[in-house]
Symmetry: C2
């Protein structure tokens, strides 16, 4: 098993190998922007699907919606660039909200963040499968298995410890910028030559309403997901950290804006309408490039950048989980690095939840989107509101201006949050709106438990020298007289001289045979017989042990000595009643009335094959 | 939990309640015939589906096939009635094959039997769902969940301990005979009045061939499943056991033959052709009765008798498993009665496998049929061949005649077995043909393991008084200095004076703090530090323990004393590293080079909430 595991996941790495590599702006952009840049793949799709139901007239609104969202993008970029200066050592929503608004908003932000990482992975993977299935329609049938396969590959790569900032990760980002940007340029040329198109199809099934418009705007806001990645990952930048990060943020925002407005504008101008199940971006690329190798390159690059975007969740989710675990809000299994210097447990939980979402939502990114934007904008709002409070507390130079900038951000994002929450409520946003506070409550409960345990375990108040315990009373449950039992008896004799054996009689008459064998062996240890008319072993045994303790009345609980067979092969364990194992569980987990522990001594007996 | 479990499964029953109730012939027929009588539900369907592909001409062959199968039925009835006289205390295929042909054929028969019980349950339930979905077509969509729900109800009823022979079980059988028999009579009246029908549909997609005919015959042979139930369950009859059983067998065979020939003949004469997804029996009932209450009664009665047929597997499978476990061919968890006086483990395994088959084969009895007949006819053949050998060995009065009768049975069933195995091979029979010998091999391996263990555990050869063991060396792995550790140390001090504590340092610098706290406590126990550059705990600890044993060179393996937190609620266990549990597994299951056992002492520490 060791070797198989090492083959798949790589051999262990020592702690000393952990060092943080600082990146230049080009590589930092590649490392932190895939989530943001790839958002257009599903945002454009959502805007199209949202408007198409109201026909060609409604599709004309796509440009206005795109402009509104780009406006939001600029507000967010401005707002977040201030966070970069205020929190040069990492300003995730959890940190900013906790430090400025208090622990509860911090935990709400943390819950929203964790959910968003899972949704980023699920939406990116399913949108990636949609991109490639648009090129190869047979894949629509296998969207769930294909998405799960991608997830598996990404999970294994991350468990091995893929570098988020590795050179190989820069390829998909720049390939996408090159392919998609090239397609847009070709599209502009085509548009200049052909003039505007007109929709030959696009029948309306509902009238155009403000509700429909807000609904589409809400779905289109998923274009903005990922913008916070730079403030989360700021520690990868070289000094001057804040300035480099801020420049990268603006570069990313401008690229996002250009790709988003360019693709939406071109789609609208050329009156692109998808055929069959293909995505709107695929339809655009096919209109511009025909079904040529260039078209397949664009679709392939879209799949790749979406896969890399899913990959960023594998950096973000375990990191947030580790911070929460460090603050004692999550089980401490999430806190520490595994033997490949990655947060193994966080990654496994992320992969499991992502896979679950993909399966439950049938591999359809459109079905997942309503859950997505609501959590993102909740985290945005808490982060921006936290920044406003930050400036009010700090009052540095020009603090009023800075507070105003973040204040605008907070107002805009909270308004968007409300639009998204209301218009997508019934389609799935309610799930997230229930989950986030539930998670905050669970974080609190976990924290309380750890504090309670720490208080219980402290040695403060314990007298420096405790009265020594008397020799324990030992009870050996036996299932017959054989070598395993003899080993247990010899071991028991080496630690105490107060020993009793006990036999639970499940078949009438069996006890007498066992007693005769026991006496033949002359062990000089009394054998008690416990009748069990209902044929169960554990219940009568526990009652016997309690009875013995009461009878001896020495304030002690008898120690149970368990003779246990250990077979040569794991499958052989199925061939033996797991009574010893079940008994141990019952002994350890049945809380004792007396509040004392009942120790258990396992004496294994190894079976040769 | 106890109360919930008692509510669902009933309270425990004492062994003394176990008594065998003898039945009169009417109730014995009801108890033992559902499997056989209900077979027509799928056999007719298979014959229709097999021939329909070759159109109306081919459907004319259904009558000939039905006659051939009824001929087989008579041979089997004759053959099995001899088994009833030869094995009045129970003549299942396993017993007959083992006693007369030797252990290997016996195990093959046993494997075939176990597989057949699972398939009987799966085929009966899915055919039952098909019967009711023919009446209520919306159920076709939910055939898997409906079949699983039926399975769950039957499983719970059986775990509570439903009496196979209970009065409630006789209702579905006689209801079915009444409803289905009545339908046939009404059908004959209709046929007499209308004269023969002709197929207006029934287009041929393949030509009629001998292969197709044999193929359909093979599928139709599933009509014969269940005929062996009376020889398996013979112990329920009142004396004279063999004569009563034989009469019941003949009654059952005649009823089977009448229902089978009657329904096939009528279907053919009236040229019944199903509409949509409905079964052929449903189409027949609808033709005769219209979509009337009487029609729904027939479909409901068909579902009920099929459910009761599935129920018979819950009596048969655990009984065979118990016999095999008693002979040490299956794990002995299958041998004994649970606290409701039923073979709980056997039932759970049967239910799990049946559910798996239903899910994997999409709730479609037609897909399961190719697996079904092959195992049944293998068991028939082995049983009949065993009877031939039996007569040759015994040589009672008229033994030649009896051997001839069983010999005819053996030849006919083995020929049928070959036809079924070949013609259904690619459709799924191969699975069973691989599984049966595989199971026989597994039974052998299990048997060898138990024999080996018995030899190892015997006290024979052990000197009557063994040299006492010296006081054990104790090692206490600690994760810090807290009350749990102090409890473990106190317990360790009460059983030995050779104690060492050990701390695995996964973070640089942590050891020094722990050492200072340890020394402040003045326990007078040395603390060893084990560095762990790869941050894992269990590996370095195991190496340390091995090193200590080598170092002391006293032929002893140190005992590990584990301080273990037991939280107040089970979910809190998730909040603590399960290091103690994993370490215990590693200690017990890592086989020791030295061949000795390393005992483990658990000292639980109970956390208040």
């Amino acid at each position: 098993m060791r070797t198989l595991s090492e083959f798949v996941f790589g051999s262990p790495l020592p702690t000393a190998r952990l060092e943080s590599e600082r990146l230049n702006k080009t590589r930092a952009l590649a490392a932190l922007s895939p989530d943001a840049l790839s958002s257009i793949a599903y945002a454009n799709q959502e805007i199209f699907l949202g408007l198409a139901v109201a026909g060609a007239v409604a599709l004309a609104y796509s440009w206005s919606i795109a402009l509104a969202i780009t406006g939001l993008l600029l507000v967010l970029a401005m707002s977040y660039s201030q966070t970069l200066y205020a929190y040069p050592s990492g300003g995730g929503s959890y940190t900013v909200a906790k430090e400025n608004l208090g622990p509860s908003p911090g935990l709400v932000a943390a819950g929203a963040l964790l959910i968003d990482y899972v949704l980023t992975a699920a939406v990116s993977l399913t949108a990636g499968v949609a991109a490639i299935a648009s090129a190869f329609p047979v894949l629509w049938l296998y969207r769930v298995p294909v998405a799960l396969l991608l997830l598996l590959v990404i999970t294994i790569a991350n468990l091995r410890g893929v570098r988020e900032a590795g050179t190989v990760m820069t390829v998909p980002v720049y390939l996408f910028l090159f392919a998609f940007g090239g397609m847009l340029v070709a599209g502009f040329a085509l548009a200049a030559q052909q003039g505007p198109g007109s929709y030959s199809e696009a029948p309306a099934v509902t009238p155009m309403t403000t509700t429909l418009l807000l609904h589409t705007f809400a779905a289109g806001c998923t274009a903005l997901t990922g913008i916070e990645a730079i403030s989360n990952g700021i520690t990868v930048f070289r000094p001057p950290v804040s300035r480099n990060a801020s420049r990268t943020l603006w570069t990313m925002a401008l690229l996002m804006g250009a790709l988003f407005l360019g693709s939406i504008g071109l789609t609208h101008y050329l009156a692109v309408y998808p055929q069959g199940a293909e995505t709107i971006l695929s339809a655009l690329a096919r209109t511009v490039l025909g079904t040529s190798p260039a078209y397949f390159l664009v679709q392939g690059a879209t799949l790749l950048i979406l896969a890399v975007a899913a990959n960023t969740s594998f950096a973000g989710f375990p990191r947030v989980a580790s911070v929460l675990a460090h603050d004692r809000y999550l089980p401490h299994q999430f806190e520490h690095l595994g033997d490949r210097l990655v947060y193994t447990n966080g990654m496994l939980v992320l992969a499991g939840l992502t896979g679950l979402l993909i399966v439950v939502f049938g591999g359809d990114s459109h079905a997942l989107i309503p859950l997505f934007a609501v959590g993102v904008f909740m985290a945005f709002t808490l982060s921006q509101a936290g920044m406003v409070v930050h400036w009010f507390k700090l009052r540095g130079p020009q603090w009023r201006l800075k507070a105003l900038a973040n204040g605008v951000g907070a107002v805009v994002t909270s308004a968007t949050f409300l639009i998204v929450a209301v218009s997508k409520f019934a389609e799935g946003a309610w799930i997230v709106l229930v989950l986030i506070p539930a998670m905050a409550i669970i974080f609190r409960r976990i924290n309380m438990h750890y504090k309670e345990v720490a208080k219980e375990l402290t040695l403060r108040g314990l007298p420096p020298s405790l009265r020594p315990l008397p020799k324990p009373r030992l009870v050996i449950p036996i299932s017959g007289v054989h070598r395993g039992v003899i080993e247990a008896v010899r071991y028991a004799q080496s630690v105490s001289d107060r020993i009793t054996a006990v036999y639970v009689e499940t078949e009438p008459g069996a006890a007498e045979r066992t007693r005769q064998e026991w006496e033949r062996w002359e062990l000089d240890i009394p054998l008690d017989i416990v009748p069990s008319p209902y044929r169960s072993i554990i219940g009568p045994l526990l009652e016997y042990l309690d009875g013995e303790d009461t009878h001896h009345n020495d304030g002690q609980q008898a120690t149970v000595v368990l003779p246990e067979f250990v077979p040569a092969h794991w499958w052989q364990a199925l061939l033996h009643n797991q009574t010893a194992f079940l008994l141990k569980l019952a002994l350890v987990y049945r809380r004792r009335r007396l509040g004392h522990a009942r120790p258990v001594i396992d004496v294994p007996y190894y079976l040769r094959d």
